[in-house]
């Protein structure tokens, strides 16, 4: 064995002795610690607002908040109604719409309800301007009267394509909500009431289907996805954990101890998160699974070594102490590198990734502590029996040895082939396309996805782009020049193939002008008189009922109006092209005062991946530098520490290249995968290089033999650990939330590729410049033991 007793070795030995001696105290202390920290779990809440994905200083969020302060908050619930006979304007359906429109006012925080029934239709009657609901008491209207209303609705640009489908087969009731945002119960209250109302309509009118969508339904889906994951993923992960440890360790006591360590680590991390006031979301929620996956490794390493020692004839306590001593360094370093990787998520532009990083980092720290204290204490207490190996079989991983010998013998072709493969994958990287479409964030287990698709297939789009078009002067929205440009912009927008609906103030002014001229269709155009336009607006505003005013369409000083554009389900790239196109049109065709920047959730999400990548570049840089530094220090070699960057970084780049080739599009989770997987895959490099260095320095082995030694001693452990990690992260792929699923699949791929890189590229790299003449065996291979 090693003659040099390092200071870390002394610390490790002292810890091992102390833990075993004071096992009961350690167990009680651990229980007390978990009870104390876990108590913070009471404060954990599930956030339910898509805005949590944007940091407080995200430029798109700030622009949107400014917009909302000028007009109104645009949280909404959209009821989509469809009758079995496909007719909206039948007495029955008309009555159902009217009933739901009236009842929707009872939804908590509703400030506005819009439907075809309460649409403020205006018409002339001599010198009278009548403004009233499009219809009242629909059940009592004749089919001819309803057909008349249908014609008006389909002819109305504010309705057609938004609240009534062009085929008049499906209709919407839009409820605008103004949440005080004081409590997380606000959203469930509103959604609960909306569901109750929808259920009531479906019961009273069995032939009518009501689906609930809108931004508030989306927000609710975030919470639902997190909870679905918590209820399905976490239990199945624990099942897998128990199975894996039972198979690897073949001991109930060892399995029990491992599960305890992991459960305690998770509870500690979640409890601390509660004390820190972190609100969970589907992304932060995955930290439970990530902690579990990563924490297994610590326990398994320690227990495998101990069981191995016991098989060799040592008693339990001696084996245990020896195992803690041997593994102390590796467990510590891998924990630190993983923590660095996860902490670097704080550079992300999306707060949920901060929470994922911080909760996971706390969990890993707790797992490190419990693996070195609670785990040995539990093992010391629990009965463990193993079969001793009699005559010692030297089945020293023949496969791994053969693999090592093959690579060292053919290191040049291996280097060339693996480099070509690596370069090929990396070169595919630029083809990756970022895409964040929030309907597709959810899989079909989440009700929102089906409802959103129902709405998009039958009624209207759900992706809104908002333009606050300024006139440049107070009261300027009545300026004929402004109105003309606004109308042209509206017309241009309607010509675009990706546009489903445009809501523009220009249409209201044209309709009023017609009304003022005895409903003469030829007067359906803009007025050229600024004062007249302002007076029309005053007249119209005086006629509108509570909750149906224009304050959400016109700024208070009448200097700007809002144009809301509903677009098809577009990819992020297409959204950005559309935004550029529309801004280009404004710049080419309107005065500078009208050059507005579009905003809204769709705009925010179309920049989220890019923002995250930009912000994570710093995070990655720091993580890479920090991890390289730790490797240089722990290997005590500048050249090897630097070389380790290759097996650490190349797999990540290859993973994205492979993804670009296989899938093509990736969402906002991608930016963070590099940092987290770096912290994880570096562990294997650490194990491999540590053994390589030990063979070179302590045994004076040459390079081929040092490589063989590393393969023989840690080859299987590294492979098994990679399989556990791949399994754990693949489980995330079954998440109902796409960002998590992609994160899981990408990390699993990175772990697999990293394993291959460690087995082929890394040894080939270590062999560069090696010539046979150098060989001088100080210790023959046969003389070596692990």
């Amino acid at each position: 064995m090693n003659t040099e007793i390092s200071s870390t070795d002394r610390i490790a030995r002292w810890i091992a002795d102390a833990v075993v001696r004071r096992r009961w105290k350690i167990i009680l202390l651990s229980l007390a610690l978990v009870a104390l920290t876990g108590n913070g779990g009471r404060y954990l809440e599930f956030s339910n607002n898509y805005r949590v994905f944007f940091s407080p200083d995200n430029p798109e969020l700030l622009a949107f908040e400014d917009f909302q302060q000028t007009y109104t908050k645009n949280d909404n619930i959209l009821f989509v109604l469809q009758s079995a006979d496909g007719k909206v304007f039948s007495p029955r359906t008309a009555a159902a719409i009217e009933q739901l429109t009236e009842q929707a006012w009872q939804i908590p925080y509703a400030t506005r309800v819009d439907s075809v029934s309460n649409f403020q239709h205006s018409w002339a009657n001599g010198d009278e301007l009548t403004v009233d609901n499009l219809y009242r008491d629909g059940a009592a209207l004749s089919q001819a009267e309803l057909d008349d209303r249908k014609a008006i609705a389909l002819n109305e640009p504010l309705l057609n394509g938004a609240l009534i489908a062009p085929d008049a087969g499906t209709t919407g009731i839009n409820v605008t909500l103004n949440f005080p945002e004081q409590s997380l119960t606000e959203l469930p209250e509103a959604i609960g009431k909306a569901r109750e109302l929808a259920g009531g309509i479906e019961q009273a009118f069995p032939d009518i289907t009501v689906a609930i969508t809108g931004i508030s339904a989306l927000n609710n889906a975030f919470a639902a996805a997190g909870q679905t994951d918590a209820m399905t993923l976490i239990p199945s992960m624990y099942l897998v954990l128990i199975l894996v440890t039972l198979i690897t360790l073949r001991s109930i006591a060892a399995t029990f101890s491992t599960v305890t360590v992991i459960a305690f680590s998770t509870v500690t991390a979640m409890g601390l998160a509660g004390y820190l006031g972190i609100a969970l979301d589907p992304i932060g929620m995955t930290s439970t699974i990530v902690i579990l996956t990563l924490a297994i490794a610590d326990s398994v390493h320690i227990l495998v070594t101990m069981l191995d020692q016991m098989r060799d004839g040592k008693d339990k306590l001696t084996g245990l102490k020896e195992s803690v001593r041997i593994n102390f360094m590796a467990v510590t370093i891998t924990s630190i590198t993983t923590i660095i990787g996860f902490l670097s998520l704080n550079f992300s532009d999306s707060p949920p990734f901060w929470y994922l990083g911080n909760i996971t980092a706390m969990g890993i720290a707790a797992a490190w502590l419990f693996s070195l204290t609670l785990l040995p204490a539990l093992i010391a207490v629990l009965p463990i029996h193993v079969k001793q190996r009699t005559p010692r079989q030297s089945e020293a991983a023949p496969f791994m040895v053969r693999l090592a010998r093959f690579i060292t013998a053919h290191h040049r072709p291996v280097l060339v082939i693996s480099t070509v493969i690596a370069v090929t994958f990396v070169s595919l990287l630029p083809r990756i396309e970022f895409n964040d479409q929030w309907v597709q964030y959810f899989d079909h287990r989440i009700e929102f996805r089906a409802n959103a698709e129902f709405a998009m297939d039958n009624l209207t789009g759900l992706y809104l782009i908002e333009y606050s078009v300024p006139s440049g002067e107070s009261g300027g929205i009545s300026n004929p020049g402004y109105l003309q440009k606004l109308d042209q912009f509206t017309a241009w927008l309607r010509e675009q193939p990706e546009v489903i609906h445009v809501y523009s103030y220009a249409d209201i002014i044209k309709r009023l002008n017609k009304n003022m001229h005895a409903d003469d269709e030829s007067w359906y155009r803009l007025t050229k008189d600024r004062n007249l336009a302002a007076q029309y607006l005053l007249l119209y505003e005086l006629s509108l009922p509570y909750g149906l005013d224009l304050n959400d369409r016109i700024s208070v000083d009448k200097a700007a109006t809002r144009v809301s554009v509903t677009v098809d389900e577009l990819s992020t790239v297409e959204v950005r092209q559309f935004l550029e196109k529309s801004q280009g049109w404004l710049q080419a065709n309107t005065p500078q005062a009208m050059w507005t920047i579009p905003t809204g959730a769709t705009v925010m999400f179309s920049y989220i991946s890019q923002r995250n990548i930009e912000s994570m570049l710093h995070g990655n840089g720091i993580a890479v530098a920090g991890i390289a530094l730790i490797l240089i220090l722990s290997l005590r070699s500048l050249s090897l520490g630097t070389l380790s960057l290759v097996p650490n970084l190349v797999p990540i780049l290859m993973t994205f290249g492979a993804w670009a080739f296989l899938v093509g599009k990736v969402g906002m989770g991608a930016a963070t995968v590099s940092a987290t997987s770096l912290g994880i895959i570096v562990d294997n490099t650490v194990h491999f290089l540590t053994k390589y260095v030990r063979a070179r320095r302590e045994m004076g082995a040459d390079r081929p033999y040092a490589i063989e030694y590393a393969f023989r001693t840690v080859g299987w452990a590294v492979a098994v650990n990679a399989v556990i990690l791949m399994f754990g992260f693949s489980m995330l792929a079954t998440s109902s939330f796409k960002v998590n699923a992609e994160m899981g699949m990408l990390t699993a791929m990175a772990v697999l590729i990293a394993l291959l890189v460690d087995f082929f590229l890394l040894p080939a790299l270590l062999m560069i410049g090696y010539r046979k003449e150098e060989v001088h065996y100080e210790h023959g291979p046969a003389a070596q033991t692990a």
Binding site: E128, D529, N531, Q535, L538, L542, Y546, I554, V556
Partner: protein
Amino acid sequence: MSMVLQHKLRKALNTGLLVVMSIASQAALSLSLEEQGFEIAAHSDRSDRGFSDSRVELKMILRNAAGKEATRKLTITTLEIPDESVGDKSLIIFHTPPDIDGTALLSHAQILEPDAQWLYLPSLKRTKRISSVNKSGPFVGSEFAFEDLTALELNKYDYKYLRSEPCGALQCDIVERYPLYQHSGYSKQIIWVDQDVYQIRKTEFYDRRGDLLKTLEMNEYRVYTDKFWRPHHFSMVNHQTGKSTELLYSDYNFGNDLNNRDFIKNVLKRTR
């Protein structure tokens, strides 16, 4: 009867009513809460009786949630209609912003039916009758509905006395009132009526769901001809949207010798 004598007589009557009221409130148990509430509102309404007509200049300051402002200037002329089953008549003339200068709104308030309203559009040189059952929307983009601006009409509501408590330096009776007009934008209002001169100091407006929507505070009360109290500063805050509106009133002119003929559709064209 001389004006002085008339005034004294009215004051005596008022004092008598006051005595009756205080006896009534001491015998509160004999009156139901609904009756008590009605009595307080009626007292407030009737304290204003006999003003005949008034004219006042008004500046509105509108603010959105971001604090951005816009102002409107207008003149309100009101004709008292003594019959409690009919509402007062009013004429509102807009001065600013300039593009609506000269636009005039004539209203004949009704109790349980939609008010009759006409708007004169100077650019069109035409008067349009506004026909809509529900005019509870924001008045010229402000946080006031038209119904919040006009004088208290006693019979527009049912009442219920809640409690009494200090309000600033004064003591107030707090009364809940429920709009009887089926298209009102509110489910209820709570008013604070001082016990000194029976003026409304504060009103809370509740939306159809019963949630607090807006709070109106009325300040800077001044008394005219020793009898008619008028607030000169209104502040309305919408709690749901964060928007607010302030009203700043100039001095009131009473006794302009106006009558019904000054409040008919045809006068609108001549308002300038």
